[in-house]
């Protein structure tokens, strides 16, 4: 359980690591919207999403994301791909792709399935870039920043950020604890690996209860420690961590902004004025399928 490395923060020193978390959160949202912008012609959609994917791959190289980990988590999606394939093969949307010659099937299955998988991979890549290049704590600071205007309506944005950061801080500690309890209970004869659902459930209970007890004890001690060091959620605090907007933040914002803006414009144009067909524009004829 300790080897969950996928998506974990890496201590590298790349440009992407240096970006302001507040900026990264916005850029992430922009990119996510971008890959869901609709186009009428599917080949256009595919080409534009491909462009965004190429951009993401470059960014992943820049931020030294472990591609192996990414592939591994994509590999886990094979069942979903198979499932979609079967569904789309038998319930094709006949309106916009041609049938596969000599079969009752349509190319549409490949297209729609591929597109969904592509989008999932891209979503995964975007979040992976964010989490491997941003410390969880900086992410919370970023979120707190965006939540802080809500303070006006007495929304406890600081408390939420503090709670989140402490929860993040305690994840490794509680994982260690979980492993310890599993070992302790196994040595008492609890079997976590074999047996039916009912037996497994019983085994899990013998893990959860001690884990809860210890977590509550910890929280009690933690709150004492915080109180002794003068923490009061209601009073003002100064800040040790400062988020800084660098020139490279502006640069990144311009690039992502251009991608987002460009594709958004095209999409609006495509939906409202005239449908865009890149393949047709370049080759002067419709694609093969």
């Amino acid at each position: 359980m300790n080897n969950i490395t996928f998506g974990r923060y890496t201590t590298e020193n790349t440009v992407v690591h240096k970006l302001d978390p507040r900026n990264k959160i916005v850029l992430m949202i922009l990119l996510m919207i971008t890959i869901f912008l609709p186009f009428q012609v599917w080949s256009t959609t595919l080409i534009l999403t491909g462009l965004v994917l190429a951009f993401l791959i470059v960014v992943m190289f820049l931020s030294k994301v472990n591609f192996l980990d990414l592939f591994r988590s994509i590999k886990g999606m094979w069942f979903l791909i198979l499932f979609l394939m079967v569904i789309y093969f038998f319930i094709p949307d006949k309106s916009y792709t041609l049938p596969i010659p000599g079969t009752p099937f349509y190319y549409d299955a490949f297209y729609r399935c591929g597109y969904i998988v592509l989008r999932l991979i891209m979503l995964l890549s975007i979040t992976t870039i964010l989490t491997t290049t941003t410390k969880p704590m900086d992410l919370t600071y970023g979120l707190e920043f965006y939540m802080s205007p809500l303070k006006v309506i007495h929304f406890p944005s600081h408390e939420i950020a503090m709670t989140l950061s402490i929860a993040l801080r305690f994840i490794p500690t509680l994982l260690d604890e979980t492993n310890r309890i599993i070992k302790a209970q196994s040595s008492r004869g609890v079997d976590f690996e074999h047996g039916g659902i009912f037996k497994k459930f019983k085994a899990i209970i013998s893990l959860i209860i001690p884990l809860f007890v210890s977590a509550i004890e910890r929280s009690e001690e933690l709150s004492n420690a915080m109180e002794v060091r003068g923490y009061n959620p209601k009073s003002k605090r100064s800040r040790y961590r400062m988020l800084k907007f660098h020139w490279c933040d502006l640069f990144a914002f311009l690039i992502v902004g251009a991608i987002f803006g460009g594709i958004l414009t095209l999409s609006i144009y495509d939906q409202n004025i005239i449908q865009i067909n890149i393949i047709y524009a370049i080759f002067g004829k419709m694609p093969l399928f």
Binding site: T11, K135, P136, M137, S165, I166, L168, R169, P172, T173, D176, R218, E221, L222, N224, A225, M226, E227, V228, R229, G230, Y231, N232, S235, K236, R237, S238, R239, Y240, R241, M242
Partner: protein, 271 residues
């Protein structure tokens, strides 16, 4: 001047069992006091009372001349800090520097000042090279040193260590002990109260308090306490090595024959 004055303190969690019975106690400023006692004797309870985490049934507590009341709790907490037993459960920040800064943030110290204080205390506890580390990549001893740095960064007048070495391995333990020794040399004004089950540690203090059934049954220097055979016997105290040695030497000295220094030494070390 006394750092802590306790008068007729009574406390119980539940009505059927008194944890502290009419306890009175003065602790001199700048002294290093060890508080001993069996599990459940009320040592932690006493420290919680001192900083107002619990409130007494009756009695008075003054810290640095300020009477502990509801409205003075914050003032008192500025003077007293506690380092607890479990290094994991008091590491609040995401990294070493964040954790040392936690208390400073609460006091609204400006950022540039905080940076200076954090690096000063990180180097004081010899953690400068680990300033960016997360707690999960630190040893127990290192985490505990960070906790001490975070406590000292608040420039307290009283430092309470509640079994701060109990969960550490021998190396971590001796690191903390030598850190305490350094503190005593470099901050003579700082009052240190150390709760411990480790007699070697207690032997280094100026004064030992022994808590039993809610009362202080012994209050003496390590020399007097550890060489008091009746008390040691009664409370099953495991003598520190140095006192075993002293006791043994004493016995040998008294029973050895000879009238000149040379003769005595020769006889003592013969067997």
């Amino acid at each position: 001047m006394n750092a802590i004055e306790i008068r007729n303190l009574n406390f119980s969690y539940t009505s059927d069992k008194k944890i502290l019975k009419n306890l009175s106690l003065d602790i001199k400023r700048g002294s290093f006091v060890s508080l001993l006692g069996n599990n459940g004797s009320g040592k932690t309870t006493l420290t919680k009372l001192l900083v107002g985490l619990l409130s007494p049934d009756s009695g008075e507590i003054s810290v640095e001349g300020v009477l502990l009341e509801k409205k003075t709790i914050n003032e008192i907490r500025k003077n007293v800090v506690i380092v607890f037993q479990n290094p994991d459960n008091q590491f609040i920040g995401a990294t070493v520097e964040d954790d040392i800064a936690f208390g400073l943030e609460n006091r609204q110290i400006p950022r540039d000042e905080m940076l200076k204080i954090v690096s000063k205390y990180a180097s004081l506890v010899d953690m400068s090279d680990f300033i960016n580390r997360e707690p999960s990549s630190l040893s127990g001893g290192q985490k505990q040193r960070v906790a001490i740095a975070g406590a000292l960064a608040l420039s307290p007048k009283i430092l309470i260590l509640d079994e701060s070495t109990a969960m550490l391995d021998p190396k971590g333990k001796s690191e903390i002990i030598s850190l305490i020794q350094d503190l005593r040399k470099n901050m003579p004004e700082l009052t240190i109260i150390s709760i411990t089950h480790d007699m070697e540690e207690a032997a280094l203090s100026d004064r030992i308090l022994y808590l039993k059934n809610g009362e202080i049954v012994a209050d003496d220097s390590p020399d007097n306490l550890f060489l008091n055979e009746k008390f040691v016997e009664e409370n099953h105290i495991k003598l520190p090595f140095i006192y075993l040695l002293k006791k043994e030497l004493n016995k040998q000295l008294l029973s050895s024959s000879g009238n000149t220094i040379e003769e005595v030494i020769k006889n003592v070390f013969k067997n």
